[in-house]
Symmetry: C2
Subunit: 339 residues, 2 copies
DNA sequence: CTGAAAGCGCTTACAG
DNA sequence: CTGAAAGCGCTTACAG
């Protein structure tokens, strides 16, 4: 039917071993032969059958992206797909393909991972943080299967992972506020037990302190993440004898409550109260006023995870546990340099 | 190294042909033999090497999802990923895997499609409407490669596609308005040349007419999609001697302009003016008031596309050109039955 | 109902 | 620098 390596060998007048070596860029082939083989390939429009290549080489040039995929996941968690696009970009540059595997419909934990590992249908596994658990960790570790987890697993292990440094993003927030001239800045976060919120707060406070400004406890508000609670915590802060000059909100949802509390007090943003938040959310664009945001480039996180996977594949012994963060300030109308 | 079909054959005391037949559910094997083979498989924890299976069968059990993937695609076009999740769901139920291929970084149009087709790395191609063009169409058609396009291509062809019936969604909007008791309903859409807007308008008007209500031209507003224009078109409509009782907005972005125009006139939603729009957008949830929406279940569109692909694979001659739409009314606070 | 044998299209030691 | 041969682990006519 379709043209095979034998047809090319015949056309070029060489053996199929030689054609294979040309295809795989062996350096021992004479330039003249390489030339002949290429001419034959062109003439016959030959493309290697990847199924045969995979089988002979014992590898697939395919990586699995393991995550939870349900109706509406795309709306609720667009970040996960942005990460995926970054992963895809790097892998595709390195001639690897990316296959999706869904853990949300498993019959038992680890079902899909065992399938991937035992069926030898891919060379490595990139796992979104939301899909990792101990069962999966053990399967991977026992099999010695190449993997990268996106997001620090919540349990101790010698898994390979990449994660975002949220404290660093908090420092960026502090740096921006100081650069604008705001020195009395409050922080509205989630519960103290929320990992990301706590990290951002820590980084923010450290960043302020490094620049000579200590943030007192009265300037820190912890909420249960609800609109109502955020509104009331913010209102309390604004009615103190000396209200803060600026507020860092730990996320966009909190920002909605904070903005309303500020507006209801007839205060102007940013002239009376400046506001900064983290992460571009799907609805960031219609928040009024347009907020200044410390955004984490999660696409880049995906790109990094892809590179790590390529390195793992070349050097399976490699233990990777790394923080990779690219924070970006997106300047909105809710902060402005004091003149 | 790992356990092969030969090991299983030895363990079970049969030939590897027999093991293969059991694996492939041939009906000619005696129950006793099937039993023995299964026992051996269990004992050895055997899983077929999918690379070998693919090669021997001349198929991959893999489908490619072709689309544009860039940084921020996930935020700008979450619908595309929701469709993808639907496709993945169906394929995975049928033991097919889904591999992502990106057309946005091609060196020349059709590059990725040729690769997919000639490398025989997948059994079929599902193409998101945004990625289809004539080059790709010709490659697919010439190769006779199994494919489903999601979205009616803009050019004439005998490609297989599935698409959404937007006129039907328009009819749903009309039905909902009438059910609430609103009979004098305006429609605010995009330019007349916008396909989706025109279809929705057509369906809406037909739906109203079917129920005995003719919508006059003065109740139709076409905009250039900008906030400003939408605001002014709406304002004009509201200042007519008899303003409409309800407004159907062709999308959420238009709805933002419409809502502002209504509010600025001190009119109450839905008591003075009821509002309905189409599609759940990422920021639908924070629009105030929460809008009543005719949503298209695009996950279901993906599910349907997946089924179509499975049918195509079983019957390659099948020509599929079908509208598959599952509109859903999401009741918000912007419409309410008149009592 | 079962098995021996050929074949799927490559890669890779190995010999020359 | 090149080629003959074995091998990768299955499937599938075909014969019995």
């Amino acid at each position: 039917m379709s043209v095979t390596i034998n047809d090319v060998a015949n056309e070029a007048g060489v053996s199929k071993s030689t054609v294979s070596k040309v295809l795989n860029h062996w350096t021992t082939i004479s330039p003249a032969t390489v030339e002949k083989v290429h001419a034959a390939i062109e003439k016959l429009h030959y493309t290697p059958n990847s199924r045969a290549v995979n089988f002979a080489k014992g590898a697939t040039s395919n990586i699995v992206y393991l995550t939870n995929l349900e109706k509406d996941t795309a709306y609720r968690n667009p970040h996960m797909f942005d990460i995926m696009c970054g992963v895809h970009h790097t892998l595709s540059e390195n001639n690897y393909s990316l296959t999706l595997v869904n853990t949300s419909e498993e019959h038992y934990p680890g079902e899909k991972v065992s399938e991937v590992i035992t069926s030898r249908s891919s060379d490595g596994l990139i796992i979104h943080g939301s899909a990792i658990n101990k069962e999966i960790a053990n399967l991977i570790l026992d099999a010695g299967f190449p993997h990268i987890i996106i997001g620090h697993p919540s349990f101790e292990s010698c898994l390979c992972w990449v994660d975002t440094n949220h404290a660093l993003a908090g420092e960026y927030a502090a740096a921006h506020m100081i650069a604008c001239g705001y020195t009395d800045v409050a922080f509205i976060g989630e519960r103290k037990t929320d990992y990301i919120s706590a990290q951002r707060q820590k980084g923010f406070m450290a960043g302020m302190l490094d620049r000579g400004f200590h943030i007192p406890a009265a300037r820190i508000g912890n909420t249960d993440s609800s609109w109502q609670h955020t509104y009331s915590v913010t209102s309390d802060m604004l009615t103190q004898p000396v209200p803060p000059r600026a507020i860092v909100c730990e996320n966009n949802t909190l920002a909605l409550g904070v903005i309303q509390a500020v507006k209801d007090r007839q205060l102007s943003i940013p002239d009376d109260i400046a506001i900064l938040t983290f992460d571009v959310y799907p609805y960031s664009s219609i928040i009024d006023p347009q907020l200044t945001i410390v955004d984490i480039n999660v696409y880049d996180t995906g790109v990094q995870a892809g590179s790590m996977m390529i390195r793992k594949l070349q050097n399976p012994e490699l233990l990777i546990q790394s923080y990779t963060t690219l924070p970006v300030i997106i300047q909105g109308e809710s902060t402005r340099p004091l003149t």
